[in-house]
Symmetry: C2
Subunit: 251 residues, 2 copies
């Protein structure tokens, strides 16, 4: 049985505690947060504590907190014998200051509280400072997910950057289109079948092959007409640079 204490009350912590609570071979001993209210919708059978109160003894302390909070929170764990890991894609081991046994446990996913997520399908990227800690962390990861990869900081950062494009930036493009539609008094539902087909195509072919549109076919007249329609200077610049990037891609 791997004993785990989970620290954090955000979306990542929320989904992790749900999965940890159910996973075979894992004993979730305690969930901890700066504010007890953040834990109000957590699994009811798990003891809760406020950050700063005494922590349960554990094999692994899992820090699912904001990147900037990793260092201050880890300062509270200096007397612990267990392995301490954070869940950040962009942060190295050094953020876990002054700890003897350090590691990373990065789940590659976008976490929204309201969404039901299947943790078993989420890639878990792990790293430990000492090789002897790796098998413990691997066991924890394997109890939760079918996909466990060992990745050092450099590779993990690049993967995290790729994830920002795949999720955050693509999502923002959809938002900009939906917002433009609303601003023009057009029914947003007109975009729905296009959005569905966009997603369906991405599900069965590389995005490279799925590309269509004015920039893809070097249609400068349409680009110029679009440019003139955009009033927000940052949006206009985005339109130009992204079109340029599409043209660079297919040159």
């Amino acid at each position: 049985m791997i004993r785990v204490v989970l620290i954090g009350g955000g979306n990542v912590a929320f989904h992790l505690q749900k999965a940890l609570h159910r996973a075979p071979g894992i004993s979730l001993r305690q969930v901890v947060s700066r504010r007890l209210e953040s834990l109000s919708d957590f699994e009811s059978g798990v003891p809760r504590a406020i950050l700063g109160a005494p922590l349960e003894r554990a094999d692994i302390y899992l820090l699912a907190v904001a990147d900037q909070a990793i260092a201050p929170v880890s300062a509270l764990l200096r007397d612990k014998d267990g392995l301490v890991v954070h869940t950040s894609g962009a942060t190295g081991l050094e953020a876990l200051e002054g700890l003897r046994r350090r590691g990373v446990f990065y789940p590659l996913q976008t976490f929204s509280r309201k969404r039901a997520l299947d943790m078993a399908a989420i890639p878990l990227c792990i790293e430990t400072e000492h090789p002897k800690d790796l098998s413990l962390l691997r066991s924890l990861a394997a109890a939760l997910s079918r996909t466990v990869v060992e990745l050092p900081l450099d590779k993990r950062r690049h993967l995290h950057l790729a994830a920002v494009f795949v999720n955050n930036f693509s999502n923002h493009m959809v938002h900009l289109g939906q917002a433009h539609c609303r601003q023009q008094g057009l029914e947003e539902s007109l975009l729905r079948p296009l959005l569905e087909e966009t997603c369906d195509k991405l599900g069965c072919m590389p995005a490279y092959d799925a590309q269509t549109g004015p920039a893809r076919r070097n249609d400068r007249a349409t680009e110029e007409a679009h440019r003139k329609l955009i009033e927000n200077p940052l949006l206009r610049e985005l339109y130009e640079r992204i079109s340029e990037s599409i043209q660079e891609t297919y040159d």
Copy 2:
């Protein structure tokens, strides 16, 4: 029975001829293209002709050609009595030079030849110069799709621009992430669950509500770390401007 001649051999023409061939109340009289080879995978029961050969008599001539080809192709139709419509989202009636009865029939979708598409789910945006032609064009559209909207050029252009963000630009962001992964020697399949969840979220909430990530939470340290990882100057600029746009959105 509405008699239709379809001109064009590209992806839009391909999907239109499939739907027209099957639609009740429509008689697809002829498909026409600059090159007969473009028509080789079109429905076998429909007569084919090369552009410049005599055209069948029709109630509606449907020009599913590139925007720049609309004017030169419409010059071949000056002696026709039928209604001539193009399928461009960004082009006005004036491209149909010297024709007496003009209109637009813009299907809002991304068309790839290999994909099976349900035309009934695709919004068709229509416009005619003369009000008396509107009911004819509306009948054609209604025979193909459940969603038919009358939109003048100005509104259609804005909708087309929104569609570029929702499809072309979001797809390109996914490509950039997938390409970055490959370049770094990372398994592209690691991004798959994230891409699926990105799409699932967009299917059930506005993109505005789905946003997560460093830019959304104003995490400047991660942004700076990512910036340093990007070698391509255009890509780095994209990263900065899109992050800025996300921050502007949630300010």
